[in-house]
Amino acid sequence: MAAEATPFTYAQDKLTFLLALVPYLLDIGRVSVTDAAAHFQVTEKQIRDAVSLIAVSGVPGETTQYQHGDLFDISWDDFDERDEIVITHKVALDDSPRFSAREAAALIAGLQYLQSLPENVDGGVYSSLMDKLARGASERPSQVAVARSETTGSLAEVRDAVARGRRLEFDYLSSRGSQERRLVDPLRIDSDDENWYLRAWDRVRGAVRTFRLDRMTGLRVTDEPVDAHGELPIGDSLFQGGDDDLVVTLELDATALSMLGEFVASVDPRRLDAGPDAPAGSSGRVRVRIRVAHLHGLKRLVTSLSWTVTVIEPAEARAAVVDWAEEALARYRQPLDTVQDAGGNTAGPGLA
């Protein structure tokens, strides 16, 4: 969780940290800065800064002058010399704060999403957790929900291979349309809403690759243990660019930008066609450059967004889209019964 060690940007988040830290320190009695930082997954500096602030904070008190007894106190010797924290005098705060409506809602919706994981977790565990979060919130959790995502059957087997560190073998249909048997060391299962991916060390290519679970067939968990890959940088982005990537310029309605998802490499902020009568807001046309591995993926993306996306360049990308759509339209011009697979890939996993 590397992202968690980043310092807090907002005062609200810093305040939450202070309100969370004090009850923990009171409860534990004595703790080293190192251990406290590890527990909260923050840096040691964040702990020291927070403790220094707590030690001079308190309540106005009877005199409204923040007298000594109105302030927190810590054992300064322990703090300065041994890097340990002991609160020796407390004011006002004892216990951990409740969750806000949105905080509880975020975790509840996250749990709903996780229910589709093939973990051996009883459904009762989830509902009891959600109930505790709702009871621990200061207001009714916001109405945010995520439907249990669809998972293909292979998720359980892939998960098993990841957990036991076994190599996986499967047929994989690439988006180029070629089918190949792959042998991989599974590293991690990623999801992106309802899409599931395996991040794995491809033994033939000698590199980390991302595989869509719904493109795998003939999956087999082998008995061979995976190699130790140490701390392989997997990265958060599902789509890793390569040197031979194609850069394509698209034009589309600004409101449709989110549809491109991770494809967007750079957004040209200039609005096109935004005449004097154009409404304010983000309703103009924009140009973006996206990186794609090959035209096979691009023509699919563009055709699925044909109500808004136009490929500007390169010309071969425009031609690929036209060919793809033409070929598809041709199928509708034939009577249904004669629709047959023309260039048939009969070796593929045909439908029963």
Binding site: Q12, D13, A101, A137, V146, D190, L351
Partner: protein, 331 residues
């Protein structure tokens, strides 16, 4: 700034009877240094208003009480944070296994609009001292909130105010401006939907966030507190629609479409390379099926066939001729 907020929370937790605004501004650290005993203190008062909003958003129950005999008098209104409403009930504890699941649930939001909320929730969890067992290894789940409207709408939902936006319904010639009372935000089939009462017709409607164009504007007046389980009922309703809509598709064997569509939830594979698919929205499915190009041919329903053909024709229209450079395009 967090010093002032921290001092404010401590002062309001420590008081039983509550403090008036004047008492807060003149005595609490962070305010008192800037307090003018004989002045107007308008800047400071505005600061206090913002701070109140900030700490309430964190789930800190800030309460106001009228001074007996002076109901409605703003100056004598007293502020406090009742301890029992502030503190997490003592019987709420989490096992290491439960904590591991909650960590994973929070991680799913890592880059979404609720990432700060989930991170704060984790801080509060760690506050109760639970040891985290090993994380559930080998997963990096993600819930995406790519729609720009998600942030403002979830704000409107938790603040219980109206939201206004332009909404482009497929088939409509132009976007229409709607003002709604948000009830729930739900993700179904990977798409975010808003369940809300459309104020123009006083009826519940479901909106797709991806069809909201332009900025979302929030209202100011608070709506009455909601009590229904709108999120659950919205998901059930979407499931019913999904169940009731069936598309029949012919696929080319061995293609991406054949492999992926046949493994969808509820997909049924029929003789003659045909697949029956459930769907919630014909236009969304048509987008997706158009992307599969010649790998699929839609057999029915007719509206879906038409929608896919229209998309294919649009793709050809957009790319059939050389690009005409728009005015002002310099290279």
């Amino acid at each position: 700034m967090e010093e002032r907020l921290f001092s404010l929370v401590l002062a309001l937790l420590a008081t039983e009877a509550g403090l008036t605004k004047a008492e807060i501004l003149s005595t609490v650290q962070g305010y008192r240094q800037r307090y003018e005993p004989s002045g107007e203190n308008t800047t400071l008062e505005r600061q206090f208003e913002r701070d109140k909003d900030d700490i309430r958003e964190l789930g800190v129950p800030l309460e106001t009480i009228d001074t007996p005999g002076e109901p409605g008098n703003n100056q004598s209104l007293r502020y406090r944070i009742p301890r029992t409403a502030y503190e997490l009930p003592a019987d709420i504890t989490f096992s290491p296994a439960e904590t591991a699941l909650l960590n994973l649930a929070a991680m799913a939001w890592q880059e979404g609009s609720l990432s700060r909320e989930s991170r704060r929730a984790l801080l509060k969890l760690r506050s109760i001292g639970v040891e985290t067992s090993d994380p559930v290894l080998g997963y990096a789940p993600r819930i995406r909130t790519r729609d720009a409207a998600f942030g403002p709408l979830s704000d409107a939902l938790s603040k219980r105010v109206t939201a206004s936006f332009s909404y482009l319904k497929p088939g409509d010639p132009a976007a229409r401006y709607r003002t709604v009372e948000p009830l729930a935000l739900v993700q179904h089939q990977g798409r975010w939907h808003l369940k809300a009462i459309d104020q123009a017709v006083k009826q519940q409607r479901t909106f797709l966030l991806s069809r909201i164009t332009g900025a979302v504007k929030l209202g100011r007046l608070p709506l009455p507190a909601d009590t229904g389980s709108y999120a659950a009922s919205a998901l059930e309703e979407l499931d019913r629609i999904w169940e009731g809509n069936v598309a029949e598709i012919q696929v080319r064997p061995g293609t991406d479409a054949a492999v992926r569509l046949s493994r969808r939830r509820g997909a049924s594979v029929e003789p003659g390379d045909r697949i029956l698919l459930h769907f919630t929205d014909a236009n969304l499915l048509a987008d997706e099926l158009a992307g599969f190009g010649p790998e699929v041919r839609v057999i029915g329903p007719g509206t879906l066939v038409d929608a896919v053909v229209q998309r294919l024709e649009a793709a050809i229209r957009r790319h059939g001729d050389p690009v005409s450079a728009p005015a002002g395009e310099a290279r």
